[in-house]
């Protein structure tokens, strides 16, 4: 299993540009999440999904959109990029099990908006 994969690894955007961060998992997990991590800070939840066709906002959803058409994929769309969106973006997935439901993280996408 590849686990959780994210593309691209790095990206530089100009202010006002748009892009889609890709996330895929091959573990058949129902739950998927997008986080952003600013330098020296914790992770903030942007959006999450509990299954295909179901998404909901997290703590910091403004400026982002998501879709979940399949169990495997959970892309994050940035419209009209702003410098405040410079961050490292992590995708994660999980499933419920009796002993807990750890989140598996992808390697991250480092995004700079200038």
């Amino acid at each position: 299993n590849a686990g959780v994969t994210q593309t691209p690894k790095f990206r530089i955007l100009k202010i006002g540009q748009s892009m889609t961060l890709q996330c895929a998992q091959d573990m058949n997990h129902n739950y998927m999440y997008w986080y952003r991590q600013d330098p020296g800070m914790g992770l903030k939840l942007i959006y999450y999904s509990v299954g295909a066709g179901i998404t909901d906002k997290g703590e910091v959803p403004n400026g982002y959109n998501v879709s979940r058409s399949t169990t495997e994929d959970f892309p994050l769309r940035l419209e009209l990029a702003a410098p405040s969106q410079t961050s490292v973006y992590f995708c994660a997935s999980s499933y419920w099990q009796r002993e807990g439901y750890e989140q598996y993280f992808g390697p991250g996408t480092r995004l700079t908006v200038t």
Binding site: G42, L43, E59, G100, Y101, Q103, G106, P107
Partner: protein, 113 residues
């Protein structure tokens, strides 16, 4: 909104010394998870605590969940250079329906050989 704070923000120890990080939530949690993030890496799950007063051990790591389920701690005995990284607690107070976590601010551990 709900907040999860960790102290200290940064700890520098000599190899072999002990280390503890504390996690405090503004609300009661249904469970708490701990993650480790190596420099430049992604968070990796360490453990989950569910019961009030629960204590779990993983080799040199000891995790505790407070009686009121609002605080937790991670203690590392005899640190090694491989322990370097940022330790995050993450709380779930949504009844476990979505595993929607609120991450703490993290504690960066530096270990000098």
């Amino acid at each position: 909104g709900q907040q999860v704070m960790q102290i200290p923000q940064y700890q520098h120890v000599q190899e072999g010394e002990d280390f503890t990080t504390y996690c405090n939530s503004s609300t009661t949690l249904s469970n708490i998870q701990w993650y480790k993030q190596r420099p430049g890496g992604h968070p990796v799950f360490l453990i989950q605590l569910v019961k009030s007063g629960e204590v779990k051990k993983q080799k040199r790591l000891t995790f505790q969940f407070g009686e009121a389920k609002k605080n937790s701690s991670l203690h590392i005995t005899a640190t090694q250079t491989t322990d370097v990284g940022t330790y995050f607690c993450a709380g779930d107070n949504y009844g476990g329906a979505t595993n929607k976590l609120i991450f703490g601010t993290g504690t960066l551990l530096a270990v000098q050989p």
